[in-house]
């Protein structure tokens, strides 16, 4: 069993355990957000934000902070988070003000960030040489290798901030997400709600990027909620299901990665996608059963 070996061998444990601990924080953090992301149709917004991280990663690589740890890693986290937050606010501002259609705004931010990141990462390779570990694959698809205990602490700190914020703003946030027109009329401040949600999405994206990469970070913000909504129509059940599915996706993906020697980010997404496919089948069978069962009128 590779998984047991990875987590018990003293050398490998120090290498991989921070990644496992961080993965659990990401699962918990993204579960709550994913329900709102799916219901408010923000999946493409998540794509825009996560790809903005690529530009931030380019800046970090140019500064030569890419493979450093400890306090320097904190600075790198801040820079990438800043890029994601800027992208989130730009998307929110452009679409809220009606200056640009939301999908156009996201598309522009997405490609601009990717282009900036590509240029800066290429320059960083020239400036610092390949020894500074500028790996495009790890940015795009995530990696367990570079995750330190500092990253794990940042991951749990971010999870704490996200969960507390969701709890604190739960009433105006859910009202606004459910019925924005009436929420505004009843005194809910839409710009505040939008700012809070976009900031939390940026924070979750930066944290998830470590493990799942720029391309796959969005999966953590979409699939748990999308899966949970296939299984239940009760709010509390959906939230708990999203949490369980996110945890199962991370743990299952890590085990799959360890056992099959696959990259962890794609492994996590494959597991979550399999749960979604199972949910679709379950949902289809439920609707078939409901359609074939006799109606109350027919029973009379």
């Amino acid at each position: 069993m590779n998984t047991i070996h990875y987590l018990t061998d003293p050398t490998l444990r120090d290498l991989f355990l921070p990644g496992v601990i961080t993965g659990l924080a990401i699962a918990i953090m993204c579960a709550g957000l994913s329900v709102l992301v799916v219901l408010k149709r923000l999946a493409f917004v998540g794509q825009g934000i996560s790809h903005a991280a690529f530009g931030g990663a380019g800046v970090v690589a140019t500064l030569g902070w890419m493979s450093a740890a400890g306090a320097v890693s904190l600075g790198a986290f801040g820079i990438v988070f800043g890029f994601c937050l800027f992208a989130a606010l730009a998307i929110g501002w452009l679409s809220l003000k009606g200056k640009t259609e939301a999908d156009t705004a996201i598309g522009i931010v997405l490609v601009a960030s990717m282009a900036l990141g590509a240029i800066l990462l290429t320059r960083a390779a020239h400036l610092h040489g390949s020894s500074r570990g500028v790996s495009w694959e790890s940015f795009l698809f995530g990696s367990m290798d570079g995750i330190s205990w500092t990253d794990a602490a940042l991951g749990w700190g971010s999870a704490g901030i996200v969960l507390f914020s969701l709890w604190f703003f739960r009433r105006p946030m859910v009202f606004w997400a459910f019925d924005p027109v009436v929420a505004r009329a009843m005194g809910v401040r839409e710009p505040v709600m939008s700012l809070v949600l976009m900031t939390l999405l940026a924070l979750a994206t930066v944290t998830a990027m470590k493990l799942a990469g720029v391309v796959l970070a969005t999966a953590m913000l979409v699939l748990p909620g999308a899966c949970a909504l296939l299984f239940s129509r009760r709010w509390s059940v959906v939230l708990w299901l999203a949490l369980l599915i996110a945890l199962a996706g991370v743990v299952g993906g890590l085990v799959l990665g360890f056992e099959a020697d696959w990259p962890t980010g794609p492994s996590i997404v494959v597991v979550l996608a399999a749960v979604f496919a199972a949910g679709r089948v379950y949902s289809f069978l439920q609707s078939r059963r409901a359609a074939s069962s006799p109606t109350p009128a027919a029973l009379q």
Binding site: L39, K40, W167, F168, F169, R170, R171, P172, V174, F175, A177, F178, D179, P180, V181, V182, R184, A185, M186, G187, V188, L229, S232, R233, R234, W235, V237, V238
Partner: protein
């Protein structure tokens, strides 16, 4: 005499780059009254409500709601609102009861939960709109009329002093409109709420409200329902009223002339609603 619940004083409003939607509207809504605002599409009715809610600011003039600015009144939870088109995302995994509870819950601090009084207000609101039996249903499974009632219940459950309803009977059949008119009467008598109903549907406002304002960019009249005249309605709707409301019984009376601000046609009209709905008709 108590202060009016809502005051529009010489209010003018224009959307950016567009003609004036409202021009010099002065209108008071007495506390505890039900005012129906009648007018054609594009006549400024919804704009009037948005000004009362503080969603828009007047270009000129002043709006006061329950002694506050509209935004302050909204922030204090004094206003309930049911919009013309619901922007609600009915795929949310919420029950009817959870949606209605959103009203009172919005005023609570994050550390507090709904009180017994809040739960009683939710029960009363559900009962008032006849939605008690569907309280546990998923909100996505409701018809348009049922969801409209749930929205009214949510507004009532927050115990507002003023309820603003924007085209509440759109898409509701004649039977449902009559039930809605009855609901308006109950709101005033049982809940003591001041109500403003915006509609282009003369039946609803004529039978459910005690005052009617005819609005088409300017305020044409502000009278009791029996004071409506074909002349005023024709002026406001810019059409032959009989052609629009052919199923209404518009009977000329020799009662005193309409006391509208701009028009005083000679023959006030009495508007009666068509006969009671047949049994089995669907509720709103």
């Amino acid at each position: 005499m108590p202060d009016p619940a809502v005051q529009f004083q010489h209010v003018t409003f224009a959307y950016p780059g567009a003609a004036q939607a409202l021009a010099d509207v002065t209108l008071d809504v007495a506390t505890g009254a039900c005012l129906g605002v009648l007018g054609p599409n594009g006549g400024g009715k919804s704009t009037l409500l948005k000004l009362a809610l503080g969603l828009l600011n007047p270009t000129r003039g002043v709006v006061r709601v329950l002694g506050h600015s509209p935004r302050e009144a909204a922030a204090r939870g004094l206003i309930g609102y049911v919009p013309q088109r619901s922007g609600a995302e009915q795929a949310f995994p919420l029950s009817v009861r959870q949606v209605v509870e959103m009203g009172p819950a919005l005023r609570l601090s994050p550390w507090r939960t709904l009180t017994q009084g809040d739960h009683q207000a939710v029960d009363a609101a559900l009962a008032a709109v006849g939605a008690t039996s569907i309280a546990s249903k998923h909100v996505g499974s409701l018809s348009g009329g049922q969801f409209q009632r749930v929205q009214i219940a949510r507004a009532l459950a927050s115990r507002p002093k003023l309820l603003l309803l924007d085209e509440p009977t759109v898409g509701i059949d004649v039977a449902g409109q009559q039930q809605f008119a009855d609901l308006l009467n109950r709101l005033r008598h049982d809940f003591g709420i001041t109500v403003m109903v915006v509609s282009h549907d003369i039946r609803t406002v004529a039978s459910g409200c005690d005052r009617i304002a005819c609005l088409s960019r300017t305020l044409h009249s502000h009278v009791a329902p029996e004071g409506l005249t074909p002349g005023v309605l024709a002026e406001v709707f810019r059409h032959d009223v009989a052609a629009i409301f052919g199923d209404l019984h518009v009977d000329a009376h020799s009662a005193e002339a309409c006391t509208g601000h701009h028009h005083a046609p000679a023959t006030p009209v009495q508007i009666s609603i068509p006969s009671k709905p047949t049994q089995g008709a669907s509720p709103p």
